[in-house]
Each structure stands twice: as C-alpha cells, then as structure tokens.
Amino acid sequence: MSCCGAPMTPGEADEVSQLMAAKLSAFLKTLRDNSFAIGLQEAGDAAALMAAGYAEKPSLLRAALKHLVSARKADWLAFDGIFDAFWLGTRVRSRSLVSGGNASASGNPALKSLPDNAARSADAATDQLPSAENGENDAAGEGRMEGASVVENIAATDFRKLHQPEDIEKAHVLAARLAAVMRTRLTRRDQMRSKGERLDLRRTIHGNISHGGAPVALFHRRRKEKPLRLVMLLDASGSMSLYTGVFLRFIHGVLDAFHEAEAFLFHTRLAHVSDAMKERDAARALDRLSMMAQGVGGGTKIGECLAIFNRWHAARVIHSRTCVMIVSDGYETGDAEQLGREMAALRRRCRRIFWLNPMAGWDGYAPEARGIRAALPYVDLHAPANTLQSLAALEPYLAKL
C-alpha cells in the first residue's frame, strides 16, 4: 500500500486512509449491486482487515474479502471476477442463473409481453382445434352483467380464449389470489389433522420433580409436521405460450404465499427462477425473469431439463413432504425415453408428482404425444389445467397429502 513508502505526516496518512475508505465503500457498493448481502458490520470488518495488513498484496486482500462477503456458492464463484474488474481493471462477465445449454437466443420476447402476444397469435397456434366452440363461448359472454359474474365467467373460460387485455389481467389477478387462498386452507387442515401423541418420558420426570417423582402431570410429544413444499416446473415452450402468462402469475402467487415453494422454468434449458420471482411486484418479477429465461417460446426438451433438475437441484429443493408440479402439454422434442427414465428417478425422490396439462381439458383429448405417454406411468395425478376452476380443483387434492 502507499502508506509504506516515504515518511508521512499524520495529516497525509489521514488523507490516504480517507481515499482507501472511499474506494472500499465503492467496491462494497459494486458487490451489493451484484446481489451480495453486505451490512454495516461487514463493511466495518472489511475496513478492519485492510488496516490489519491484508491489503499488502492483491491476492491476500482478494482471499480475505472473498471469505468475508460471500454467503453462498454463487457469490463465491462470482467474487473473483468482480474483484479483478474493480481493483485490477479487467472486464467481468455478467452473472446468469441459467443452467445447461448455451445461451444464444437473444431476440426473444420478454415474458411479460407473452400473454398479449399469445392472444394476438392465437389463431396461428391453435389451428388444430375445433373452432366452432370458439364463437359459442364468446356469445355466452356477451350481454352478461358486469361485476362478480364476469369474474366467475373468466374463471371458467379456457385461458386461450381470453383475448381482451382486461380479461387477461383479471385472470392473472384471480390466479394470484387463488394461490393465496390455497395456502391458508392447506395450513389449517394440516394442524387439525395432526395426531398420534407419544409420552415424553424425560420431560414428564422433569416436570414432576416437585411431586417427588410421582408422574402426576404427563407431557406428550407430537410429530412435527413439515409444511408441504411445492416445487413447480413450468414448461415455457412455444406450444404452451398461450398458458405461460397465467401460470407465471399463479406461480408468483404461490411463491409469495406458501411457506416453502420453488419454481423452475424450462423449454430447451432449465432455469431456477424462485429468486427472480420473489420480487413483490408481479410485473417487475416477470421483467427480471425475461432476462434469465431467454429462449422462451421454442421447442421443449423435457427429459433433458428433468435430468438437469435431478442432478443439480433435486437434492436441495426436495424433501420428504414435497410435491412436484409439472405444467406442460407433454410435447417432447427431445428423447422421450430419457423423459421416462428421469421421471422414474424423480418419482423415487418426492411424495407426489402431478402433471397439469392444459390440453387435458379439451374435448376429445387423449394423451398420445410421445412425451406424455412416457411420463404418465410415473405421475400420480394427471389433471387438466386450462381454466382457473381446474386450478382451484387441485386444492382438495393437495390438502390430503
């Protein structure tokens, strides 16, 4: 450091330390911008260790600060680049949470704009459907009273038939509210179901010492219920584009309301999106999401994505009371056999797998796509999910777990 050169007056030394402090706080700000959690205490400690001689060599300072400010593996891996960029002036790659594959698609639409785009391109994407039903439904919607009945009407309407931006918005709000309602009911039923008490001998003896050891008051022990954890895997490929918007809102609501929930997005790659979705404001959450899930709207490699999930995420996010919810139409563009294998592996890990299939609600649908046929043997519940009502119907099922 510069303070080791020529003799200095105390005033000069002060000036140097002020400069260092300014530089250090600028560095800490850079780290905070890169989502490091650094409080006043860490800043104080950082200053203390610089004063204690750790600033002698860049490598020593880097190692010391790295241990101090990192809190998780992602920080640990990102730190060196940020440090070098700031103190040594090299360039740094931006962080990305996307796993698997190489990020190439760049001109993709933001997820936030998906519902609108989807509505506009509805004709193109749904040409395999009987179109007579379409007009009928629209007619039924006309002439109704405004207010609650309209909301109910929306709840029963297939998402792909919502065209008006305000209808779509209403559906989104309903989806978010539904998630919150599900949460409260699930928790309450949990507590009322808990039974099966055992005697706690140690505490009984302890509690009855005042009676000279005669067991007058008995203490019981009850099994601690783990809260149900919901792990959601949402297919964001082109064939699902009409539904992605509503489900994202639903997932946002679940992440917000549930005690424990994790969300992943997949198409040809898998992205862990819980952190981005934890943004309170739904629109901003979707904005953050669009940055990390580039490639939305292409093909689907469900098997490959599940393999990545099983290998890198499953151990962390799945515990004994975990439900895995896969939202997909089951159109696999990759290897259907791999999908079957990975579903079997996933089945061994978690309590229940349920597969929400928007197409299962259509008249005359039979699960014949290669992907869904490979996956179905391992699925506990294969349910339609094309309307808000069908989403709400899931709740009693979840409550029984």
Binding site: A37, A48, A64, A71
Partner: protein, 315 residues
C-alpha cells in the same frame, strides 16, 4: 523503517499499522498454512487466510461443498493448529436445545430428593439445581472451557430452521441463560466451524454472520499429496496415478461422485493388494472400484472396458 515520526520514546509502543503488525497471539496466514500441513491437512490456496480472518474478526467459518470433500477434516486440523480440544455437535432433524445445549440430570435429581427426604426443603432445592446435576451438551461445553476450543457444528443444514435461529443468537452473544442457574457467559470464545451439504438453503442471517469458504474436490496434485500424507508405504507415482484416475471417474456422469475419503479407501485397498502400477493390475483395479462407486447404476456403468479405457489414459 520509520513510517510515522518515531519521536523520542521507545519504538515498541508505536501504533500497529501496515504489514505484519497483527496482534502477537494471532497467527499469520503463512504460519497457519505450515501448521495445517503438520496436522496432515493439505489445504487449498486460501483456506489459511480464512482461518486467520476467523481469529481476527471473531466470526464463525461456514464451509460448504459436496459430501466427502473434507469439510469436517478442516475442523480437526484447526484444533491441531490452535492446539485445543475439538467439540463436535452433529446436527440432525429434530435436534433441540436439551440435546445441544444442556439438560438437568433428572434421574440423579430424583435420587437426591429421595435420599434427603425429611431434611429442610430450602437446602434441597439449592442443591438439586447446582452444577453437579447439570449435564453439559456440546454448545454449553464449548463456551465454558478455559482455552478456546474448536466448536464444529456439523451438517447445520440438517437441523430445523428454529434451531438455526437459536444458534445465531448464541453465536453473536456467546452467553446462555439457564433459568435455574442464571446467565452463563463464555469464559473463552470458541473457534466455530459450521459445515453444510446444501440439503436445505440456510438463512441469509446465518450466512451473513459467517465467513464463507467453498470446499471443492481437490485437483490431481493436491489429491496425490493427500494420499501420500495419509497412506503409509505408497509410492508417489502410484498416488499420482490414483489421483488422476479418480479425477477421470469424477468427470463421468455418476449418481454419487466419490469424495476424498473414498479415494483414501481405494488407495489403501490397492496398497493392501500390493498393486504397484494401475496398468499392471487392471483386474485388481476393477475389483476394488467398489470403494469408489456406491450405487447400482454407477457400478453397472463401469464395465471392465470402461475401467480399462480409463487406466489407459492415466497410466
């Protein structure tokens, strides 16, 4: 030499500043690296820095990494470096305060009560809630030692979230209150090491409180040195071959990636079978792979041909 104006006094009373001026009892990173090597722990680059920081800032050290990369061994080596006792708290689901902190010895209390029946009551109560009837559990033991011990809180991710919150409080205050006895302050502040396998996401508060070190699988050179340090009567060339082979095996797509402990088992097995060179004994190598591969799928994947191909690439 003279950074600040020395003035007319003795040079020893100058304020500490600049290089190497850490307080005397504190070990420098270089000293620590040497002591770790003496303890038989071959540390990666900047672990020594982390340990010196632990001492300076009084923060716990959080070690994360895959199972079997030697996280627990760090704590053992640290106890050797400081020449103190290692106190270990193994976490598990449902771990609660009586098992981690302290508990009264109820059976002895009852016996004492019955033995004293008939005598005056006030005395009995004082006696019953005295140190004699207190069972020390690891956390209480760690703060009541004269010399700072190393407190290893192993696999903190297995404990419940409530326990984590309780631990956080203990780690910042270093005092425990026992209703019957009063508050017990730490006689010495322990060196705390926490390890986590990542089965559960730890709270941000705990992470912030700790220094963080990610322990990765060792590279070939370091793993070979670890083998040499732990296995007697092994040639450097064989150790290097084993380390290279294990590195190749880790790169295969396995369900359960072998850790350092498995490597050591395997090396010991090969030495026991008098293998001098992997290329000379492909049979023995294949037969002993069970030391490394712990699931049926992994075992099925490593056919004789795969083993021989890998031997060809390392030998």
């Amino acid at each position: 030499m003279s950074r600040f104006d020395p003035g007319p006094g003795d040079a020893a009373s100058l304020p500490a500043c600049g290089e190497g001026a850490a307080p005397t009892a504190r070990l420098s990173p270089d000293d620590i690296a040497v002591r770790l090597a003496e303890a038989g722990y071959i540390a990666e680059g900047d672990l020594a820095t982390a340990i010196s920081l632990m001492q300076m800032l009084g923060r716990p050290l959080l070690l994360e990494g895959e199972a079997g990369v030697g996280k627990t061994a760090v704590a053992k080596a640290l106890a050797f470096v400081h020449g103190t006792e290692l106190i270990r708290l193994q976490c598990y689901e449902g771990l609660d305060q009586p098992a981690a902190l302290y508990e009264w010895n109820y059976q002895r209390q009852l016996l004492a009560i019955q033995a004293q029946q008939g005598r005056e009551a006030g005395l009995a109560e004082d006696e019953i809630f005295s140190e004699k009837f207190l069972l020390e559990r690891p956390l209480l033991a760690a703060i009541r030692r004269e010399r700072s011990p190393v407190l290893l809180i192993d696999e903190i991710d297995r404990a419940d979230e409530e326990f984590e919150a309780f631990l956080l409080e203990l780690l910042s205050e270093f005092q425990i209150s026992i209703p019957e006895l009063g508050t017990i302050k730490a006689r010495s502040v322990p060196h705390v090491v926490l390890t986590s396998n990542g089965t559960r996401e730890l709270s941000d508060a705990l992470r912030r409180r700790c220094l963080y070190h990610y322990v990765d699988y060792p590279d070939v050179d370091r793993e070979a040195r670890i083998i040499l340090a732990h296995i007697d009567k092994i040639d450097a060339s064989l150790a290097l071959q084993i380390a290279r082979m294990v590195e190749k095996i880790r790169k295969e797509d396995l369900r359960k990636v072998p850790g350092v402990a498995e490597t050591l088992d395997w090396a010991a097995a090969l030495v026991g079978l008098n293998v001098r060179d992997l290329a000379d004994a492909p049979e023995a190598v294949h037969a002993t792979l069970m030391c490394l591969l712990k699931t049926r799928e992994d075992k099925a994947r490593f056919t004789r041909e795969v083993t021989e191909r890998l031997i060809g690439r390392v030998a």
